[in-house]
Symmetry: D2
Subunit: 368 residues, 4 copies
């Protein structure tokens, strides 16, 4: 018989993505148990905990962080709360897995990274595409030189449905959706870093919300230090499904990754060829979502470094902030200008609304 | 907290496929626990049980079946032992999941089915393709009439490597490999049953073993009662990987299913376009293997009927026996001639070797 | 300026396929001119000739064959007339391109081949798939050993629509449709020859015509002398379009060929992924139909051997006759039994109807 | 017999693309004859004319334009000579087909368009992708509203090999390569026009030529008046082959087009799945190149409007000029700023080298 105690991981934020992570912690990872659930919404943590056979539920996250039986926490709350929770959890000595974005200002990103470093705890961020077999294989081939030097890159994210434009905080398309693509582009051009960003964004899906600041479609161009040119594009509504793809042209070849098909069934009828599309991120990245928490558990057990660090989260945030500034100014923005601006970020300029955010792009969903 | 006791499922046969099933029972199914492992090979059950945190290991299967704490058993032993174990387990009041083939003679197939019926226990057989999303969607579309009446069907299985031809029992290609395709063809032509079978088989991969009775390549043609014509083909060695595909032409359209690609990564280089193939059944059918045991657990809990019954196993066996007789006689064989032959089967004509069999096609692997 | 006289090629049979060939001869082949058109139907030859700027039209083929200005003829008449026309044209000293099947009995196939040999003229047969880039590349790779020794082969033909079952001569599915697949299988297993054939055929599309002898769906299994096992399947109606595919598993790899898509446009909408299918043989094989006549012209100019000979036509016919006998007898048929039967063929057993035949499979269409 | 005189079309520029067009005129278009060839290089016109059986060759283009027997001309000379030749030919009363780009400054584009309008002659430009079945079907579906309002577009061109960087004129990547993509994006967003352009370009393939002004890789972002955002990207060297693709996300669906495969043959071996890529534009667009000249001949015969007009050529040029200015200034450029600048263009700032240019992207090849 195994004699090890299972790792006790708690969930903070019982929304859509948090619930998926909680099931993973409860059932899908050998040697891991779901130790507690916290969510400020009355009854939310309790309902999820009960469903998964977890004994402990909190409405006060402070109680959860104070529990010495909790080894680590998974943070799946709204984006603007992430950095503060990372800091608090790290100070409480917990290993931390945080959904993206880890922070929405450079200053709080730096504080979160520093807190984890000081506490000596693991800090991992939810860039799940790094755990997708296709994207991972692309990264590994590129890192091994299989396509030579990257020259032209593309990463895109399209969510299937824009449900309620009134509930989408400003700059969400950069901070919550394209942040994945910014990380992906760094992942697919290993060793290089972006130096300049140009972005356009608009309300093309719901132009009636444009005057309220909605940006639902965006195209970002990025120049890397090694000369490579990249595009990141996002849409909040692709009626055919959930669409995440990447492409890298290098001096010795090209790689493409991303799969739009739900199954390998193809139908041929009088109207031609037909196949079904992936409808949800939790279908497309089902295994990747589990793999990233498995990696987290391994890192905690071995005090190792996870595949996606706080530094990676900060680097993607810098690109997002540059893209936001490019939209604001109408011109290209140098990464060094963002880096040199201690106040870079969206805090102060805009308030994020309370309540649940858009359900796409595995954004954290529930208030805390 | 949940108040239900987890379902106690034991494994019989600690080989390659048994180990996969044991991990599923131990870790991947909510509300299920791996209750015991039995294998006659010294130490085999104990090693697997220890690795998975299971307290109980047996070298005597009788002890396992006598344990009242065991609710159900998963049988993953060599093929010739299946039917007897199903019978014994059913008589002991256990629900039974049995790897394919459930039996190698009609008489023992009938006894196994009867024993489960008398005991009123669930009997499920390991035709995992019925749990693959693509094959399942194909079945559902056909059953719903999406392609009209099936006319031409194809199912194929190709294993990646023929390791040791000396250890392959006679007729394995029909009883252990094509038995999947025979079930798949029935699954993809719901409501119809085969009436006639013609088969050729040969030792094309290892002609040096032909005189020892090796059949490593086979092509079977089947005529159904509704007129539909089908082929089932198998090879023990496709150097590119593990290849399982299906195709159905109906009066109103065609469906194809099966995926040769390991990931959705595609590489383009000076030599053209390249992608990786699936190498192992446990990659291709990873989720299907879990889904079939989840279905088994559900059937046991609800006393329901699983998606693959003992009758299905018997029907596929009849086709396999007809194909074998077709190879022996050189002509087509009517299903009714097999049905009318109480002694139909391979027992008596040929001995299966002891010891572990070929590792392909998720055949049961370990001796008992 | 070029000083060579253009090659004068005449068309016999102004039906659907003949018209396509006439356009090719008139416009698409440098150094070739359409010299004359012959068709017994009043006005048919004249109309086609006028449309293409060809000066000469005949209703008597004898006149055309007697014209010393005609270097070569393309025969695109109904199948039962082919062999006689080949013989007559060869005796008249013309090079001959004949649509498939070159003959419907072994005796007339032998006479046609002998006549061309005696006259020393080129005799080419319309197995256009040998000129399709995909099938041709498959052949070349296999011939070069790229996939080792062929073990399992498949070739299929599905026409898009069964227009008028009353006008389809008996055995058409073998003699006019599957004859392509029989040639393709020989092409894809170069150096080997079939030794045994087993076939089933039925009226599954129009069962109401079964008692009038319609066979609209067929599945043929072929064993080659090198042990390779092959299937050839055909359907007169695949509602999604014109479907021609091939697959070869060899000891060192697999090749697949055949393309169902009309263009490379893919559409993604709320119902998933969609693409259009190829609807007509003249779309799918447009370039191949031109390439085979270009090869014919080259062979005539250089007195060379074309890529598809009268011997190839005879070899495919033998397989078709074996398949027909297999359907008649219900058992497998050895090729040597057909070869040893001077009377093998369909003449005498069944009369082909007069008038235009089914338009699929580039069968010759117009009466003569 | 046909009584019409064939249309007499002459070729100007006997380079790589000109030779292809000459063959089309000589052999592939019913009712068209190659009337003359002109090229200033000694012997070039004569050699091509002789090969194709064309009686007339000139080294002085003035002679060709003065020939009253010539109905129309195809201009396939180096880019900087196009506009002047269009003007001269139109003034001589000839219908004109001109390879892209039709002009390299706005002023000469305007003069060329005006000359054709004054002469009342057909003026067509060589944006061949409009004649590709996939791109054309995409256009038609979009125009018909099949995917709603276009929101995100992509067009790319990658040539297979950068042969001699020293011979590539400055700005070629915009004026000769991306000019195709600029037209394609307008074609795929019918009714909308670009309003702003941002571009980056670099020497990533041959950085050793960067200081000589080589730009071999470019990424252009375009904002349309209807809000749609587009990227156009180009590379002079994709080692896997010739790569031209398009993608349009609209409010009601997505379309993708472009095909990298040379044939439909797929190979599966120990290293996985493999297929060949298209190597040359004349393979990928073989039929489109013929179709555009067929359209030209039809337009001339019927005095109709071709599918690609001088106005289309001017509109694509404006985007190219905006992209060039964006690279020069480092910021986005408004289309209206180019339109308002009578001197916009590359003349005066840079001299195009004499002699043959890079052979990619069906640029005109031979000197005149």
């Amino acid at each position: 018989m195994t004699t090890h105690q299972p790792l006790a991981i708690a969930l903070v934020g019982a929304g859509r993505m948090g619930s998926f992570h909680a099931e993973t912690l409860a059932h899908r990872l050998p040697g891991v148990r779901l130790a507690a659930v916290a969510d400020p919404a009355p009854g939310a943590a309790r309902r999820l905990a009960d469903r998964l056979g977890c004994p402990t539920a909190h409405t006060e996250i402070g109680e959860l962080l104070a529990d010495p039986a909790v080894d680590a926490v998974v943070i799946a709350t709204p984006a603007r709360t992430h950095a503060g929770l990372v800091e608090a959890a790290a100070r409480a000595g917990k290993a931390v897995y945080c959904e993206k974005p880890m922070a929405v200002t450079l200053a709080e990103a730096d504080r979160a990274v520093a807190a984890a470093a000081e506490a000596g705890t693991v800090l991992q961020v939810g860039f799940n595409r790094r755990y997708d077999p296709g994207f991972r294989a692309a990264h590994e081939k590129i890192a091994a030189g299989a396509i030579g030097t990257p020259q032209l890159l593309r990463s895109l994210t399209r969510d299937p449905k824009l449900a309620d434009p009134a509930r989408i905080p400003p700059w969400t398309i950069f901070l919550e959706t394209l942040i994945h693509d910014f990380d992906t582009l760094r992942f697919l051009n290993p060793g290089a870093e972006p130096v300049e960003v140009f972005a356009w964004a608009d309300a093309l899906i719901r132009p009636d919300f444009k005057d309220r600041g909605l940006l639902d479609t965006a195209m970002v161009t990025i120049r890397f230090g090694d000369g490579a040119l990249a595009t990141a594009e996002a849409s909040f509504q692709a009626v055919y499904g959930y669409d995440v793809r990447g492409e890298v042209l290098g001096s010795a070849g090209m790689l493409t990754t991303g799969d739009l098909r739900r199954t390998h069934l193809t139908a041929y009828g009088p109207d031609g060829i037909a196949a079904e599309c992936v409808a949800y991120d939790q279908d497309l990245f089902h295994d990747a979502y589990i793999a990233e928490l498995a990696d987290f558990a391994d890192s905690v057990r071995t005090a190792g470094t996870p595949s996606v660090t706080g530094e990676d989260a900060r680097a993607a945030l810098v690109i997002a902030l540059a893209a936001i500034r490019s939209v604001e100014t109408g011109g290209p923005v140098r990464i060094s200008d963002i880096e040199g601006d201690a106040d870079a970020g969206i805090k102060g300029r805009t308030d994020l609304p309370d309540g649940e955010m858009m359900g796409m792009s595995n954004s954290s969903l529930s208030p805390i």
